[in-house]
Amino acid sequence: MRLFTWSKLPCLARLAGACLAALSLIGPAHAADFPERNVQYIIPFVPGGESDISARLQQKYFEELTGKQLIIQYMAGGGGAVAWSQLNGMPADGHTIMGTNLPHIIIKPMDKSAGFKTEDLKDFYYFHFSPDALVVTNDSPYKTLDDFIAAAKQAPGAVMLSGSGTQSSNDLSHAKFDKMAGITTTYIPFKGTGEAVTALLGKQVNASWGYSTVVANHRDKTRMLAVATDERMPMFPDVPTFKELGYDLTGGAYRGMAVPKATPDETAQKLADIFGQINQNPEFRKKMDELGFVLVDEPFKQVPAFLAKQKESYAPVLEQLNAAK
């Protein structure tokens, strides 16, 4: 159902971006032949979310590095599926890139109406993740993870947790952790982290499967019982990891970028190099840290192995979730 080709229809954001570029005669001269012009960066969600915020942070450094603009556009719908299913119809010259998210791009294609397969997306870099965390309000009776587990054991199913989305990273971590700890709790999905944390702050639920980013923004009212990172986060030195408490739970919502499949490997590699350099920028790192993101470096060549590893970690939970339906 392609009525228009991507390149023909002008759109507001593109026009605005072009005007911006014309207005600002900035940027250092560059010898590099790529990018030749501004790069369109499509975010498959509505503006204001974490995918948008992290892309906005990359924007500035991309311009510093290449002298070209990174123009962010939004193409929301179907939890990202609308955008991802159209990526391969877009120009494959490296000047159109799209944000990709895990676990979304692995879980979505399990429904045939998603219109894309994981392999259709040529991911060239995974640059960070929002670690999953078990979050409570500051005055919660659960002081430690053990308190939480004890409460859940005492009344199976009665402990309610808010979280962002269904079959999202929050949802998967809830299912994984319940299995590891041998408990049953009730996960209540909300539309996005904002609504999930509102339910927590309003005491509609007992705790929340959220992201460390949520606590970074609401640190005056919330705290984490444990966080799903390999090592303690520098910003939260007092918060234990699930690993050190004996639960092998790491990960969260990973974010990367992809190009249309027909894009040459060489171009994908060049893009990976640029975004790899952004990931090394100390100022960028500091800003990402402060927001509660954790940077990862999974460049073009390593992406297939990285995706395979993630897919494996979702498999047992997915079977369980599907069986429960």
Partner: protein, 501 residues
Amino acid sequence: MEIFSYLLAALTPVNLMLAVLGVSAGIVIGALPGLSATMAVAVLVPITFGMSPEAALILLGAIYTGAIYGGSYSAILINTPGTPSAIATTFDGYPMARKGDGDLAVTLSTMSSTAGGLFGVLALVTLGPLLATIALKFGPVEYFWLAIFGLTVISALSEGSTLKAFIGAAIGLLLSTVGLAVVGGDVRYAFGSQFLLGGVEQISALIGLYCIPVLIDLVAKPDAHLQAPEKGRGLRIAEGFGLMWRGKFNALRSSIIGTIVAILPGAGGSIASLVSYSEARRASKNPEAFGKGEPNGVIATESSNNATVGGGFIPTLVLGIPGTPPDAVILGALLVQGFRTGPEMFGANSAVTYTFVGGLLVATLVMLPIGLLIGRYAFKSIVSIPKALLVPAIAFMTIIGTYAIRNNPFDVVVMVVLGALGWVLCRYGIKPSPIVLGLILGPIAEQGFVQGYLMGNATGSLGAVFFGRPLSMGIIALILLSTLIPLWNSWRRQHPKEALS
């Protein structure tokens, strides 16, 4: 008196210029169906990165407030709300314009928007931290009941048959289920298409259902689109002030409703203006005039939806929880700048907050002269443009506007199909408003219901979750009132003698 020095900081030339520019741009964007406040704010975010947090907030806040007001132009002049917040403005604004009172309607909308906007901002600065707690009192079940309340209000409000209004709302509810369920992730009515998976976009449906029937009628009927105003008449500002003065309690009540509804994340301007409209009609001495060009209808909806701007900033600034979709974008922009909202906005960072509030006040005030100026030309040009130009111009805007919402050509198809359907339904007395509100309220009701159901199962008492909470009981009482009173009234009309004896 530090507050005043912070407020005055908004009066620097740069900040003033940003406020004026922002409001003017916002009005134009808001008036064009499809170009929403959210998008306007999102497009401008990169520009704000070079600014101080105060200046960025003032610019984005000014655009936002201008866009919400600008939505009333198209609602009044072409019966198509420029933003969902202006849906209820079509009820009386368009009939006024048809009668040749389009200039008065625009003047009233400008004055009410300014009044409502000021009220919202003053509530933000004086009672912000206190009012923010309301956002937290509302749980999933309350949102469910609020959405049901919205649906009963629209049915009770509709001119003509209540039954047909219910049918319209049911069509809207059905359309809202297309695509991916927010809670549960089930795929419904997608028929294997990834485009349907994305669901029916609310604004494209709104453009189709309102605008296409207007376009068809413009082409099908020989007479002029709107009555031309008498020659030599100004903007009827004195008359507008007179009506505003008489409607001051209406404007105040509507502003209060707008502020409170906006504090609830996820409720928004469409519900606020609808509830205010319904309350204005209930309180009015001649409720029959509503829907036929009653100035108080415009006053109610426009003061209420502009009060949502200040109201929506309350949870955004105090709790770091966006009150409305444009607030989410503004919050994101602040986070990127490394600026965290939350309680310190009224403590350590209060300088920024008060300067921003000062800027928002200025932006709201300049809306009055700018709006009257733009409104004067907007009405005159819509009246004087020949149909052969007006129709293609509007048609072009609907397509560009629909496409721009999510860069999705399929939304344009949905818009046209729904438009044709809407035209047919309209001929059978099913109006677009119940359909669009069904579409907007459906997901809120569904999500609240499923979450409430999950909570009920977890606590082992469904009844207590849905009916036992004090706030829920209050909203249920309102629902009963708004459904039973019209029934009682019509029963009384049909049985005058029994009612008297």
